[in-house]
């Protein structure tokens, strides 16, 4: 009985410790929309991202109203009219990094993350290319990909159709550190 008890204690503390996860709350995501009329860009520096280093699972979550635009009016329209951040406050991603266990330390490795992205309340399966670097105690991931507004039911009214691109380039950079 004692033995069983101490094993339980041991398991409990191991899982509490969570040494097998790396995490950031300062992940960077930028997006860029380019048309003849105007370029729109915005940046979120408070993206949360976590990787389970034992199996390569990862999750990302962000508050949509944390995107900062150079023009405040654009920011307001982004939240109020397009992304509807009061109705859909966050966007998330959950997936698995392909070949995670085979990535060698201190070597930038090209791979991809496969999973489900939820934006504007719409969940879609997506595959994101990434450059991953493992170091002692940190994992860096960066890359870019394209999002189609139509895929996430973000509607652009005809009057501004020339101002907003249908395909948005998204780039990201996460530096994960041990989670405790």
């Amino acid at each position: 009985m004692r033995k069983f008890f101490s094993i339980l204690l041991f398991v409990y503390f191991i899982s509490l410790n969570g040494q097998d996860k790396v995490f950031t709350r300062k992940g960077n995501i930028k997006f860029f929309s380019e048309t003849i009329v105007e370029d729109i860009k915005a940046e979120n520096n408070a993206v949360l991202s976590i990787i389970n280093t034992s199996n390569g699972e990862m999750a990302i979550a962000m508050q949509m109203n944390q995107f900062v635009f150079p023009k405040k009016l654009m920011q307001e329209h982004f939240n109020e009219n397009y992304i509807e951040s009061e109705k859909y406050p966050k966007s998330t991603f959950k997936g698995i990094i392909a070949g995670f266990s085979k990535v060698k330390k201190y070597k930038a490795t090209e791979t991809y993350v496969e999973g489900t992205m939820t934006i504007h309340g719409v969940a879609r399966d997506i595959c994101i290319p990434t450059t991953l670097t493992k170091k002692d105690g940190s994992i860096t991931m960066s890359g870019k990909f394209i999002i189609k507004l139509k895929d996430y039911q973000i509607k652009i009214p005809r009057i501004v159709i020339k101002n907003i691109a249908e395909e948005i380039e998204v780039s990201y950079n996460f530096i994960h550190l041990p989670h405790n």
Binding site: F5, L9, L48, L73
Partner: protein
Amino acid sequence: MKNILLRTFLFFTFTNLQSQDLLAILDNELEKTTHIVSATFKGTRIANGHSIENRKAKELEFIIGHRFERLNSGTYNLFGLDFSNIRFSLEYGITDDLMVGLGRSSFQKLYDGFLKYKLLRQKTGDQSFPFSVSAFASVVSRDYPEFDKRPLTETLFYTSQLLIARKCSSSLSLQITPTYIYRNTIASFEESHGFFALGVGGRVKLSNRVAVNGEYFYNFNKLSSLATKNPIAFGIDIETGGHVFQLILSNAITMVEKSFITETTGNFLKGDIHFGFNISRTF
């Protein structure tokens, strides 16, 4: 005893194992953030009066406001459209919290200047706060023709307001506006210099780009030299990119606080209604 301890540990171990879900961990973290509620109203005006909204830092807004004559003035005046009071103004955000504006109205030849400052912000999340508060102050000078010129001090009016607003949901916002207006010049010695009023206003969003606004000011004391009514206004906000169009029906013809709050004479229910609009362009 042992059994209870064991169960407690088992329970914690399992709940801990369950919380291994990565998104759940992030959700937990997200709840620790606080953010400021924005876009309580679409424009810087509810209808005639100011809303809690400011122009953001370094944004310049040009507003043209029209209020036509009374709808019940008949077909001869095309329901009031033959005459209008025009106010145009330049309004600028010095910082995200402080804005200034200069305007000129054709009715009574009024020049107005104002400051609006955000004191408190409505917040949600970890450190939430239920409403926003701004302070508003304006000075208005009335111009007189050459033969009737008066010293500047005799032409001045001051308005102070507290704007207290809450975005109750993404579609409903409410504001109350305690107001004090001071008239430098009075028509008779019995007349008061100071006037108190309380404004209530609200917005209901019909879609992402269209909202209906309403606004009413209750005057606690009124001018004795003029038979005044409390001003009431209804408006529709239509937003298209950098423009906001506001279509307004009101018993007031003016767009400056001292006038529409204390000098409105129209009876809304009897059809003394002025159609009007504000068009704003933000640069």
